[in-house]
């Protein structure tokens, strides 16, 4: 039940996309998002869609998992669609219900906006699905490296992110365990009024928080025992290195941005 959460979950694999340097994927994603916001016409949207579908095929991520991860975002999508559909001014009126009008411009805009959000999320999913959290934070730290000169705690931030990500599965497992233990004492989480069900969460939340604090404490001690003292002078076992594959990926993304840019400059 709790294990069904896929948001930000990593699917191990060996596809060309999995093997890209995390920095390439981060920069590539940025390029992709820029292209997505520049795109304004049916043609450029079609190009973007084609690009995205190809990437999904290459990554060999089951499309089902992407759709599953999309579920929590359905409300935002519907909301955006409805807002744009009814509140975009235009000349060609398609339908008029009471005070609400649907114009041709509104309809196109709603479709474009929803398509944009969908492609934005799918693109981001593609990155988190193909990059392990650890290498993702590694990539972020390396990309934000120049900010260290401005006394930004880059290493500390990426370490915090890394630890937070690391503990998600652990806490999910812990929650499952505590739930079973309380169910064994007759706790009931499924029936009763809303208030009753909210109250039923107390026997899970209290032990969960206590265990989270305990784990944090233990981790801090373990890190201090190994003389951890932050990023200063710290070396890495796995050094990030761009390979030929990464340069290829950069070329593809640059081409995509260029095509979309050119199309946009022609008003397409």
């Amino acid at each position: 039940m709790l294990k069904d959460i896929t948001l930000g979950q990593y699917f191990p694999g060996h596809s060309p996309i999995h093997r890209l340097d995390p920095r390439t994927k981060l920069i590539g994603l940025t390029g992709y998002i820029v292209a997505l916001f520049v795109a304004k016409s049916w043609i450029s949207y079609a190009v973007m869609l084609l690009f995205l579908v190809t990437l999904i095929r290459v990554s060999s991520i089951p499309p089902k998992s992407i759709v599953k991860g999309m579920k929590p975002l359905v409300m935002i999508l519907v909301f955006t669609g409805v807002l744009n559909l009814f509140f975009t001014g235009g000349e060609t009126v398609l339908l008029r219900i009471w005070k609400l009008t649907i114009t041709k411009e509104g309809l196109t805009r709603a479709i474009f906006m929803m398509g944009r959000i969908l492609m934005l999320i799918t693109g981001t999913f593609l990155m988190t699905f193909t990059t392990s959290p650890i290498s993702l934070t590694d990539g972020l730290e390396s990309l934000m490296g120049p900010l260290k000169k401005l006394h930004m705690p880059v290493h500390e931030l990426s370490m915090m992110m890394c630890i937070a990500l690391r503990f998600i599965p652990t806490l999910i497992e812990e929650t499952d365990k505590i739930m079973s233990a309380q169910k064994a004492r007759g706790a009931d989480f499924e029936t009763g009024s809303l208030i009753k069900r909210a109250k039923a969460l107390v026997p899970i939340l209290v032990p969960l928080f206590i265990s989270a604090f305990r784990r944090a404490d233990e981790l801090a001690t373990a890190m201090e025992c190994r003389c951890y003292q932050g990023g200063e002078g710290r070396t890495k076992m796995k050094l990030l290195r761009y390979t030929r594959r990464d340069f290829g990926a950069f070329a593809v993304i640059a081409a995509l941005v260029a095509v979309i840019g050119v199309l946009a400059s022609f008003g397409l």
Partner: protein, 287 residues
């Protein structure tokens, strides 16, 4: 006598239909009678924990049935819920599930969920606290102020307070010092005697199960590999070692003595060993 708990051809498969599919129980069958003290041993991942959660209806078997006092616990929703109370389950490191402000309230959580009258809950909480040796004063303190061993006893009392006919414990002594271990094992045995309850205890300590139990279930590779008295099970030392398990130290010593040509029987506990050695000494003195 009608068995209190019957397990018939139990199969359980985790995450059916996904790449993570894994069969944790294969065709497990056995009967449990009132008042028995049963030890469950098995290598990590042999299906012990899954089996335990089947017995009180936390996990639904993929096929097969669990019969409590003559009735299949999955035949009716009410029976499933009842099974939770009649078969008490104490998980590993149960102290991590404490949540109430006072020890008293935490122990009362189980009986409270049974919707018993207030006086009955009070009686059960006090009796359960007494079984595990908690004082009146401790009942009113916060469970988080207690030591590790005391927390463990509070958690066990929380399950005992439901007065289950079958009490299942998953490594109740893990991580405790010898004195704490002996105390908890004593508490469990006392509960069994007082209520004629059945105890099923998962343990990695061969010494503990040899001393306390009258029957052993050995899980191996998701199957019930052996079922018999400690004597019968430990006699198959080689098979146990093959399954990644061991036999009590004292049994090892006596097996070795026998190999050296001394006329000794197999023993499993220190007490038996003392007797056997006395007999040996006495015997040779007479000869």
């Amino acid at each position: 006598m009608e068995p209190i708990l019957q397990v018939k051809n139990l199969n359980y498969i985790y995450s059916i239909g996904t790449p993570f599919e894994h069969q944790a129980l294969k065709d497990v069958s056995f009967c449990v009678h009132r008042g028995e003290f049963i030890g469950i041993i098995g290598h990590t991942g042999s299906g012990k924990s899954t089996l335990m959660q089947q017995l009180n209806g936390l996990l639904k078997p993929t096929s097969g049935s669990v019969i409590l006092d003559g009735q299949d616990i999955w035949s009716d929703k009410k029976l499933t819920r009842q099974a939770r109370f009649r078969v008490g389950l104490v998980f590993q490191y149960p102290e991590y599930q404490l949540f109430e402000e006072t020890v008293y309230k935490d122990i009362a959580f189980g009986p409270g969920n049974m919707e018993l009258p207030k006086e009955e809950i009070d009686r059960r909480v006090r009796e359960a606290a007494d079984f595990v040796g908690l004082t009146e004063e401790q009942l009113l303190s916060s469970p988080f102020d207690l030591s590790g061993g005391q927390k463990r006893r509070v958690a066990i009392a929380g399950v005992i307070a439901m007065e289950p006919e079958v009490l299942i414990l998953d490594e109740p002594t893990a991580g405790l010092d010898p004195a704490g271990r002996a105390e908890i094992l004593g508490n469990i045995e006392r509960y069994r005697r007082a209520k004629n309850a059945t105890i099923m205890m998962v343990s990695h300590s061969m010494e503990d199960v040899a001393k306390l139990t009258d029957r052993l279930l050995v899980m191996g590779g998701s199957r019930l590999a052996m079922d018999g008295t400690p004597g019968e099970v430990f006699a198959q030392a080689e098979r146990l070692v093959e399954m990644g398990l061991s036999i009590p130290k004292v049994t090892q010593v006596f097996l070795h003595l026998r190999k050296m040509g001394l006329p000794v029987e197999n023993v499993y506990t220190i007490e038996q060993a003392v007797e056997a050695l006395k007999a040996l000494k006495g015997g040779s003195a007479h000869a």
